[in-house]
Amino acid sequence: MLGMAFLLLACISLAWANTSNLLIKSAELQPVDDAYVLHANFDVNFSAVVEEALNKGIPLTFLIEFQVVSPRRYWFDDEVTTVSTQVVLSYHALSRQYLVNRENHQDIFTSLQEAKEDLAHLRDWMVLEKSLLKKGEPYAAALRIRLDQSQLPKPLQVEAMGSESWNMVSQRYRWIPVFSL
């Protein structure tokens, strides 16, 4: 019985491993001086195809997009700010290490697992100036992470178009942030 359950679990995890997905587990805004920084935790999974491509030296570019809007009832929401950042995950064949590049910063990991863990944690991303916010107004925040397919090599782009493994887009994570102004 227990064995059956394990088998089932193994099957599920195997199936899980075969489909790529990005998931936002949590996100929060934290005030720092006169701005807000974003912390977020993702769940990052690569399918075998994607992992193989990564190990063959194809860099994966992830786009993290964040938006704060002020909702309006009868009209389009008023956009307060929209920012995005790039995270590039690549494999360095000579040193057999994984590199995670954020803007001007590079982290090096010996295993893919570590690299993925690093990728899964977003820390101190400055997204919002306090001056943009008005007191008493309701705000909504949204976060999304996706694989930037246009940065893939061209043949892969074509392949990625209809492929489940390459279609890595998280659902939009929405929450109502509490701003202490």
Partner: protein, 736 residues
Amino acid sequence: MRYVVFLSAALGAVLLYLLSQASANTAASSNHYTILLALNIGLATALFFLVGFQLWRLYRQMQRKVMGSKLTLRLLGAFALMAIIPGLIVYSVSVNFLTRSIESWFNVKVEAALEGGLKLGQNALDIMLTDIKQKGESMALSLAFQPSMTQLAVLNDLRDKSGVQDAVLLTLQGRILAFSSSDPTSFLPELPSIPQLRQARQHIYGTIEPILGKGLYLRVLAPVTMTEFGGETRILQLLQPVPKTLSDTAESVQEVYQDYQELSLSRKSLQEVFALTLTLVLMLAMLSAISIAFVVSRRLTAPLGVLAEGTRAIARGDYGTMLPVHGSDELGILVQSFNSMTTQLGEATEAADRNRASVEGARTYLETILAHLSSGVLALNDKGELRTHNVAASHILGVSLGHFTDRHFSSLADEFPALRDFASSILTQFEGAKEGEWQEQMDIVTAQGNRVVLLRGTRLPYSADSGFLLVFDDITAMVQAQRDAAWGEVARRLAHEIKNPLTPIQLSAERLEHRLASKLTGADAEMLSRATATIVAQVSAMKTMVNEFSEYARAPALNLDEVDLSRLINDVLGLYEPADVRLHVGLQPDLPLVLGDATMLRQVLHNLLQNAQDALEGKTDAEIAFDAVVQGDTVKLSVQDNGDGFPLEIISRAFEPYMTTKRHGTGLGLAIVKKIVEEHKGTIRIENREQGGASVVVTLPYIKTPVRDQAGSPKSRRQTDAAARSAVNKKSAVNE
């Protein structure tokens, strides 16, 4: 439609160019590659629908049998074939070639070589790393026994000796204790990450690290167990850049290896991309070609449609439409020729119409003339069939010729035996005659009695309408008039010549008797007196006869006046009282007045009654019927007897002088009667009655409205009378 086609073709060309650019150029247009691909697919689909729409339209046109649509289809097929066949060949060859060449990029040897190169680089780096590690170990050992005061100097010393670029002594937390560098530009060392520090706590740790902006470095972290502070552990970090040449080579090998891997990974998709691009190129090219073929073939066949329209117009008889001419090519010239042909046709038709109208007019004119001609006209064709006849012909022959048209002329003789001689004589003449005219006079028997006709025939000149033409006149009246005139002349001369000696003969005979009567006696005297009496009597009889002759010849002028026929008839009948004949008189009461000469008319009545009485001489149960009735606009007088009637041989010539059945008689009675009646514009007819006996019928026109009731003045009436009289006079003059 044309613009849509050319626009889409141009758009397709632009898109294809961009697509091929995108396929070739890796970095710049990679973002737009998918968009371009999608656009191209969209365009191909649009073109596909366009071609489909065009085909559907063509199909509809063919169903409606629009002129030129079939030709359009054939031209389209030809054009499309010309485009599709080479296109497909090029396409299949290129796809095949492409697939093979892509396959040929990848082979095991190349892959092994690349991997080997990469391994070589890795090994070289590993060897260098091992070397640095050893140096780091020995340096860590040396440092372990140094007091902290001299650490920096020793570190410098050791670094110098080992030839490492940077050497840093760190606490376990990563705080810098001492730093030595051969690079004068470096103020701050590249610090290890926390996990690295943690790992280096136990034993020596070395990695190859690509440092952002600086290139490839070898980093070694060695734990230093300080003897001085109770075994506190420090970390020594050695940082050595990989020699430029080696790092460049290794990096390039890695790059190529990665490129190769990338390619081999996406080999299939690469083939797909190229195949897709090629297919798109093919489809766009083909569809554009077909669309353009549509437009071109339509352009080529458009003048045909115009021509067809023109032909239809001509078929309808509309010569007025001019076709629009465009282009100076052969089709344009064709349309121009068609236009000029239409014009000429129109003119020709107009001329033909005019001609026909004039011919029609001429024919009508001819027919009118023929119809109003008093001569009978017959036209026969070569086979002797009746082609044309006029009213007068029917009238003269007393036969309706209408249903003999297109039948052989002899059929006339078959149906009317009385006309056998007429028909056969004509046919004989025509068969015999070669050219020129012939003329013949013959008698024919018709319903109106014997007629004398003068035939003139001629053969029509040889042509489509060749045949025979026959013109004939009823000359009965003329012949009669001639005969009458001749008889008048004879009578006048005879009277003149005979009258002269009669008086001397009578006088001489009387003188003889007078002179000799006294001298002779007895039988001689009696003989003389008898002879002279005979002479005198005969002479006086001859005188009477001569007087009659002269009377016939004299043609006295009529003294026309209104005559009351009833009174006249009663007068005559009163004088005439036969002894042994029963007289039946049937007079219509109130007979109208007749314009005539009372004396003459009295003579006519007298003559007729006398004739009847003579015919009944010696007959028992003799009776005479005298009737006078109004018939039409004439008064009909008939005298009928039950005698022997007229002998058949003379009935047709009964009105000629000296035609008599009486033993004594001049034979002038009926002749004079006829003359008088005709001078009164009347007619006289004799016939034998079926039950025996003769019948003479005289008709006289009566005065339609009495003078008193007439609107016009009596004077005009007189004038008419005078005119009539003078006309009569003229006629009698002709007769003399």
